[in-house]
């Protein structure tokens, strides 16, 4: 099967993301890459847990003092929803409905951007309300590094999906770009899974002290 071939909804194959050899390689390689990313975040989590509430003096704020449920709950729900919308996008990709796929990807991007905006607001809040800055304590360094790595992944994912949408906006789906969309959505899910752990380990466990 040639990647450049033109397709219709009738001829569009099942699992378009794995039809060519290049696509199969990307599929395998990306899962392995996510394995490496898992270890990367595991290291960040381990460090965070070791340094949680480790501050130089008692006038520094601890986890239980700074986290607030409403804001974190909102960011969590926004990011989880964005994972769902990217599933819708992939559903339409598999059914060769290009416009619907683009629509749902667009919604995903909007949700992702709102997540980032809220996260920036949150960090800003911590810095100004609690003087909880990157350099103030080991706890703060570990917190901002873990959540910051996640945030950087979100930002990269947003740029990736946007680039794909702009590049392929006019030419529709083929077996060359279908795997690209699929991998971007896989990446997006991974970011979401990491956030579930951040929500639990950093925020929920932080609030109970």
């Amino acid at each position: 099967m040639h990647a450049e071939e033109k397709w219709t909804a009738e001829t569009w194959p099942a699992s378009p993301e794995r039809q060519t050899l290049e696509a199969k390689n990307k599929f395998t390689g990306f899962w392995i890459f996510l394995g490496g990313e898992t270890v990367l975040f595991a290291t960040l989590f381990a460090t965070y847990l070791a340094l949680k509430d480790k501050v130089p003096s008692s006038d520094h704020m601890l986890a239980k003092d700074i986290f607030e449920m409403p804001l974190v709950f909102a960011t969590t729900m926004i990011l989880l929803t964005s994972s769902l919308t990217s599933v819708y996008a992939m559903y339409h990709m598999k059914n060769f409905q290009f416009k619907k796929m683009m629509l749902w990807l667009g919604i995903t991007v909007v949700l992702g951007a709102s997540f980032l905006a809220l996260e920036i607001y949150e960090f800003n809040h911590y810095v100004h309300e609690f003087h909880h800055t990157f350099t103030s304590s080991a706890f703060a360094s570990a917190f901002y590094t873990l959540t910051g790595f996640h945030g950087a992944h979100v930002a990269f994912g947003l740029c990736w999906i946007l680039t794909l949408m702009i590049r392929n906006g006019k030419r529709g789906l083929d077996l060359y770009n279908a795997p690209k969309f699929y991998l971007a959505s896989l990446y997006w899910h991974f970011i979401d899974v990491v956030w579930v752990f951040i929500f639990t380990v950093v925020y929920l466990m932080g609030m109970v002290g």
Binding site: L21, N25, F33, V39, L40, K54, V55, S137, A138, R167
Partner: protein, 630 residues
Amino acid sequence: MSSYAQKQGVGAFLWDYLTTVDHKKIAHLYFIAGALFFVIGGLEAMMIRIQLMEPNNDFVSAGLFNEIITMHGTTMIFLAATPLLFAFMNAIVPLQIGARDVAFPFVNSLGFWLFLFGGIFLNLSWFLGGAPDAGWTSYASLSLESPGHGIDFYTLGLQISGFGTLMSGINFLVTIINMRAPGMTFMRMPLFTWTTFVASTLIVFAFTPLAVGLFFLTFDRLFGANFFDVAGGGNTIIYEHIFWIFGHPEVYILVLPAFGIFSEIFSTFSRKRLFGYSSMVFATVLIGFFGFMVWAHHMFTTGLGPIANAIFAVATMAIAVPTGIKIFNWLFTMWGGSVTFTTPMLYAVAFIPSFVMGGVTGVMQAAAPLDYQLHDSYFIVAHFHYVIVGGVVLALLAGTHFYWPKMFGTMLNEKLGKVTFWLFLIGFHLTFFIQHFLGLMGMPRRVFTFLPNQGWEAANLISTIGAFLMAVAVIILVINVIVTVVKNERVGNDPWEDGRTLEWAIASPPPYYNFKQTPLVRGLDPYWIEKMEGKKNLTPAEPLGDIHMPNSSFTPFMISLGLFIAAFGAMYQYDMKNDDVFANPAAIAVFIIGLAITFGSMMFRSAKDDHGYHIHKEELIDDLDKGGKA
């Protein structure tokens, strides 16, 4: 189009290598760059030995000595051994599994350029205010206090080159999983391919913690973070854990492919199939698995407590079991075979006792109470040089002789090769055997000099003499290479005449598309099977058809260059005198420009469709002599 067609002039030749995505040419690049860093690391080793030749020597100052030992270790591990192994993996693994290229030719090239730019960045420290000086482990408390930018060259340079290594690891994994020829089942893969597979898995899971550890160190030193700064609530032991969670598997990342090269050499020159093939595969996977369970044996004296020490001691000793399986399999491969002692085979035979000695001292150190005595003494230096030189470097030298014809199409001189071998082997044992006793007599490692009348003079002098023998051996190898290149006597497909695996069935060097027709693999050692049936060529698995090839690209170079530039920005934005972050606007601009080049190149790559090109059947038919005879 075909990169071979445009081979005229130096400029075109250079451009060809700068843009190549061909695994065989990337292997050449890795080989040359790795050899260059090997020489640099070797010169640093010579300076260490000259300084320690006699008591109270002042050949180098104490501070410079620290920089030299740090750069010797770092260069040898990250910039010499790893890329030289990658050279052989790139040159041989796709051929061994009957593939036309790796899974991601573009990423393959990106991996090389990242490694090279990272290596250059690290070594530029010599000229820009001093090299890193906190040892190759760069333990946090010490490295946080190191003045100057040396440690920053270390963290940022290794970060960049580590990205490259990680990508290459993923690339080899996917290549081996997806690109095997029909009939090449997992349990028919040659041992070098198997060890590459396991080592690549270790890379994916070990280099990511290293990346995080280096980020933490960078943040602490350049961005005011407090991960390892006890005054800010940090914990310096975290760095030790992260470093060794990477560092121990790294040893296996190096030594497993070395085992693979030796396995190929033993069976080739014993004219027998590898004894206990499946137990060999099992042992390789088991070593890879255990490799992640033992990191704390580097930290017995840190104070983790008797229970942690006991667990890690037992796990460490367990590694001796699969390693022992391998040793016996190699011995039994030679048993009853018709052995020819070519240069590669000499290295292989010498490897067994040398490496076993490194293994035995390893088990000694695994006993935690004894390790309290041995820790940070020359005994440790002797141990890891027996493992790394006796295992990895002997394999690299053996592989250089063994695979030279397949990589470059000529044969290294056997006589000079044997001279190199004997000089190197004798020099190696002379240098490091005596260091065991220096360690037992109490000489600590990493000291820049020692006092007379402690009974250490003679041993240190002998050690230095051995180092000179190794240096002479390497010089003779270089002469051998030059003579061979100048003579340029081309060899055929199977210059050792006993080749067993697919790479020996095609031309040396192979045509840029490797196999004209993908071969059908009918068992372990497929080329040997065909030869035993009186056939000269492999059985093809497909009719002659068009071959799809990837396009060359300059983008990997640009992506790597961008990170190289950004690293300077990240380093110089920090004002060391006033302890001030983001103090230098010019450096911030450089940082942003560098990242813009990198991400811009990535977007360029994303925007430009690259479908590759096809070699047509008709062109292949004219190409009868080339190794396309599958």
